[in-house]
C-alpha cells in the first residue's frame, strides 16, 4: 500500500472521529484517563526515585554509619534510685575498628548531647552534635553566612557552634546572630556560622539518627567531649535517669562502593566481638539505595498494573462503541462492499477508526497528564520528572490498544454478508 493511500485511509479514520464528536470524546475518555495516569505515574515515580537516590547518595555510597541504640532490656531497675545506663559505641570501638578493619579509610566520631541551649533566659529547642570538622563537608553541610569550624577549632576545643536558620528564627532577636553567644550545658558557645537551610530530608535524618526538627547545633567534637561530656540525663516525674553513651555515631568511610559490603560484614563481626548486647546498628546507605531500588521496582510493577487496567477499560470502551457503530453503519458496509471493497478494506477502515480514537485519546491523555504533573509539582512537595520517551511509550501503547481492541469489531464488519448488510434497516 502506497504512502499516499495510507495517508488517505488515515485521514478518513480521523474524519470518522469528527462525525460524532461527543461520542468520540466519551469513547476516548478511557484512553485519556489511562494514558494520563500512565504519564503521571511514570513521571512522579521517576521523580520519587531520583529524590530517594539523591537523599541516600547524600549519605555517601562509600560510607557506613554506626549508631548507638539503647537495647530494650536496658531499663531502670526498680530498686535503684540512681542509675546510669551504659551502652552503645565506645572510644575503644573506634580504635578497634581502625585497627582491625583494613578497608576503613576514614573514621569520624559523633557525640550527641542532649543538653539544652539557652539564649539569655530563654530555652531554645535544639539538639547538639559534636562532630569532627570533616563531617560537615562529608554530609554536605555548607555555611551560608559566617565561617565553618576547622581542625584548629577542634584541637583548641574552642567553644564555637554552627546553627540552622530555623534555630536563628527561634532566637527572636533583631541583632545579627553571628557573634552572639548561646549557653549549652552552662558553657557559652559563640555562633560563628549559619548553615544553609539545605532541604531537610527525612531519609537522611533517619539514617543519621537525627530528629526532624532541623534544629541541630554543630560544635567541634573535642569541644563537646571536654565540656559537655557523654552523660545524658533525663528527668522524669521526680526520679532521674541517665545514660552514658561514649560515641553516638561513628561514620566509617571506605574507598570504593565495592568494599562497602565486605566492610559491613567486618564491622559487624568486630562489634559483635566487643559487644555482648546489640546496642548498636550498622546503617549502610548503599544497601538502603539497593533496597529502595527494589522497592521502586515493585512500585513500578504496581503502577504498570494499574495503568494496564485503565487502558484495558479504555480499550473495552472503544471495542464496545465500535461494535455499536458497526451495527449502525451496516448499510454503509454493504454499500462499500457492493462498490468493490474487499473484506480487508472494511477491516482496515474500522481498524483505522479505532486506532484513531485510541491515539487521539492518547494524545489528549498525554497533555492531560503533563498538565496534571504541572499541578502536582506546583501544589505538592512531590517532584516529577518527565522524560520525552514516556510520551512515545504512551502513544505506542494507545496505538496498540486501538489495534488490539479494533480487531474484533473490524472482523465483525468485514465478515458481514453484503446482501443482508445492504438490506439492513
Amino acid at each position: 500500500m502506497s504512502l499516499e493511500r495510507s495517508a488517505e485511509i488515515l485521514g478518513q479514520g480521523l474524519r470518522g472521529l469528527r462525525r460524532n464528536k461527543l461520542r468520540s470524546f466519551l469513547t476516548m475518555l478511557g484512553m485519556i484517563f489511562g494514558v494520563g495516569s500512565v504519564i503521571t505515574m511514570l513521571s512522579v515515580g521517576a521523580g520519587a526515585r531520583a529524590e530517594i537516590l539523591a537523599r541516600i547518595g547524600e549519605l555517601g555510597v562509600t560510607n557506613l554509619i554506626l549508631n548507638s541504640i539503647k537495647p530494650p532490656e536496658e531499663t531502670k531497675p526498680a530498686d535503684q534510685e540512681e542509675w546510669i545506663a551504659r551502652y552503645g559505641l565506645t572510644f575503644d570501638d573506634a580504635e578497634y575498628i581502625r585497627a582491625v578493619v583494613p578497608t576503613v579509610s576514614d573514621l569520624l566520631r559523633v557525640n550527641r548531647v542532649t543538653e539544652r541551649a539557652w539564649y539569655g533566659s530563654r530555652r531554645i529547642e535544639s539538639s547538639v552534635m559534636g562532630v569532627e570538622p570533616r563531617h560537615l563537608s562529608m554530609f554536605g553541610l555548607t555555611v551560608g553566612r559566617g565561617r565553618t569550624f576547622n581542625t584548629i577549632d577542634d584541637r583548641t576545643r574552642s567553644k564555637v557552634c554552627l546553627v540552622r536558620p530555623g534555630f536563628v528564627r527561634q532566637l527572636e532577636t533583631v541583632v545579627d546572630p553571628l557573634g552572639q553567644f548561646i549557653s549549652i550545658g552552662g558553657y557559652p558557645f559563640e555562633i560563628i556560622g549559619i548553615l544553609e537551610d539545605a532541604q531537610f530530608r527525612s531519609h537522611t535524618a533517619k539514617a543519621l539518627n537525627l530528629d526532624g526538627a532541623a534544629q541541630e547545633i554543630y560544635v567541634p567534637y573535642s569541644t563537646s567531649m571536654s565540656t559537655l561530656g557523654t552523660l545524658t540525663t533525663i528527668q522524669r516525674a521526680g526520679s532521674f535517669e541517665a545514660s552514658k553513651v561514649e560515641l553516638d555515631q561513628i561514620v566509617v568511610s571506605v574507598r570504593t562502593p565495592e568494599e562497602v559490603f565486605d566492610t559491613a560484614r567486618m564491622l559487624s563481626a568486630a562489634l559483635a566481638h566487643k559487644h555482648e548486647k546489640k546496642d548498636y546498628e550498622i546503617v549502610v546507605p548503599l544497601e538502603l539505595l539497593q533496597q529502595s531500588e527494589a522497592t521502586q521496582r515493585t512500585f513500578n510493577l504496581v503502577m504498570i498494573l494499574i495503568a494496564s487496567i485503565s487502558l484495558l477499560v479504555g480499550g473495552i470502551g472503544i471495542a464496545n462503541i465500535m461494535l455499536a457503530t458497526i451495527t449502525e453503519r451496516t448499510r454503509e458496509i454493504g454499500v462499500r462492499r457492493a462498490l468493490g471493497a474487499r473484506r480487508r478494506d472494511i477491516s482496515v477502515q474500522f481498524l483505522t477508526e479505532t486506532t484513531s480514537i485510541a491515539v487521539v485519546g492518547g494524545l489528549i491523555g498525554c497533555l492531560a497528564g503533563l498538565a496534571g504533573i504541572q499541578g502536582i509539582a506546583r501544589y505538592t512537595a512531590w517532584k516529577a520528572i518527565v522524560e520525552p520517551h514516556y510520551v512515545l511509550v504512551a502513544l505506542g501503547i494507545s496505538c496498540a490498544v486501538g489495534i488490539l481492541f479494533g480487531i474484533y469489531p473490524a472482523r465483525r464488519a468485514a465478515q458481514m454478508n453484503p446482501i443482508t448488510a445492504l438490506r439492513h434497516e
Binding site: 499516499e4 448499510r331 454493504g334 457492493a338 468493490g340 474487499r342 480487508r344 446482501i419
Partner: protein, 297 residues
C-alpha cells in the same frame, strides 16, 4: 461473441441445507448483449432479487454458469467477486445508498478509491461524471442536503465511475415522485443511447413496458422474454428503441440481434411514429397461460 456482456447458463440458486433446501432459481438461461436495456419484472418471491444479487456478484450461484464480460464469475472467491463488483458492475439502488457522512464528490469517488486509483486522478473523472448528470453545483453537499432525484443522479454517477460493463438498477425510481422518477428514467434512456448495458428490476408496469426488452420471472424461472412496447416517455428528448430487440426469443441466448449504433439512431427517429401492432409481446401479460417456456431449453 465479444458483444455478449452477460450470459447465464442453467443458473441455479438454493438456500439452506439438507432436507430444508429451498430452490429459488431453477436453471436460468439468459444472454444480454452490449447496449441492451433489459427490464426484469415479476411478482415478489419470483426470484428477481436473488437473480439481481447473482448478477451483481454479491452472491455465488449454487449451480450453472455466469459469464460476465467474458469471465466466468460463478467460481470466484470473495476478493475476486469484490473486484468484479468494483470494475464490471455499477449499482443503482432504490434507496440510493449514498454514504451519508461523505459528500457528493467523495461518494462518487468511492469505487475508484477501492480500485486503488490515486486521488489526483479520481477528481477530474468524478467531476466530469457529476457534470453529465447535472450535479456540478452540489459537489460538496452531503446526501441529506439533496432531494431524492438528486441523490439518485449522484448514485448513477457513482455507478458509472469505473466504466462498468453492466449497470444494475434495482427499482431506481421506487423512492421518487413521478417527476423525479421521469427525470431519472430519462437519464437511463440517455445512458442507453450512449451504448451502456443496463439491467433494471422494476415493479412499475409503465416503466417496464417502456423498456426495449423485458424479462419476466415467475417462481424462479424466466417465463417471458419480450421486447417492450416502444412508447416514448413524455419529455424524453432522445428516445431509442432498437428494432433488433423485437427479434429476441424468450429464453434463448442466441437469437438476439444487437442493434448497431447507426441502426439504433435511425430507429430512434422513426420511433415516435411507429407502433407495432403485430409485434411480439406488445403488451406485458403477466402469467399469460400457455406462454410459459418452462425454463430454458
Amino acid at each position: 461473441m465479444s458483444d455478449v456482456v452477460l450470459e447465464l447458463a442453467g443458473l441455479t440458486k438454493e438456500f439452506g441445507l439438507g432436507e430444508n433446501v429451498l430452490r429459488i432459481l431453477h436453471g436460468l438461461d439468459l444472454v444480454i448483449r452490449r447496449g441492451e436495456f433489459v427490464g426484469i419484472v415479476g411478482a415478489s418471491g419470483s426470484g428477481k432479487t436473488t437473480l439481481l444479487n447473482l448478477l451483481g456478484c454479491l452472491d455465488r450461484p449454487t449451480g450453472g454458469r455466469y459469464c460476465l464480460a467474458g469471465r466466468d464469475v460463478a467460481q470466484l472467491d470473495d476478493d475476486e467477486l469484490a473486484r468484479e463488483r468494483n470494475r464490471s458492475i455499477g449499482f443503482v439502488f432504490q434507496s440510493f445508498q449514498l454514504i451519508p457522512q461523505l459528500d457528493v464528490l467523495e461518494n462518487v469517488e468511492l469505487p475508484l478509491f477501492y480500485d486503488g486509483s490515486p486521488r489526483k486522478e479520481r477528481r477530474p473523472r468524478c467531476e466530469e461524471l457529476l457534470a453529465s448528470v447535472g450535479m456540478t453545483h452540489r459537489l460538496h453537499s452531503y446526501p441529506t442536503q439533496l432531494s431524492g432525484g438528486e441523490c439518485q443522479r449522484v448514485a448513477i454517477a457513482r455507478a458509472l465511475v469505473n466504466r462498468p460493463a453492466l449497470l444494475l438498477a434495482d427499482e431506481p425510481t421506487g423512492n421518487l415522485d413521478s417527476k423525479n422518477g421521469a427525470e431519472v428514467m430519462q437519464l437511463f434512456d440517455r445512458l442507453h443511447a450512449d451504448g451502456r448495458t443496463i439491467v433494471m428490476v422494476t415493479h412499475n408496469p409503465e416503466i417496464a413496458a417502456s423498456l426495449p426488452r423485458i424479462v419476466e420471472m415467475q417462481d424462479g424461472r424466466i417465463v417471458r422474454d419480450t421486447p417492450g412496447t416502444a412508447r416514448p416517455r413524455p419529455g424524453t428528448a432522445t428516445l431509442q428503441r432498437g428494432p433488433g430487440t423485437a427479434g429476441l426469443q424468450p429464453g434463448s441466448g442466441s437469437g438476439g440481434l444487437q442493434p448497431a449504433g447507426d441502426a439504433r439512431r435511425e430507429a430512434r427517429e422513426e420511433v415516435g411514429a411507429r407502433l407495432e401492432p403485430g409485434g411480439p409481446g406488445a403488451t406485458l401479460e403477466r402469467g399469460a397461460p400457455g406462454l410459459e417456456p418452462g425454463g430454458p431449453s
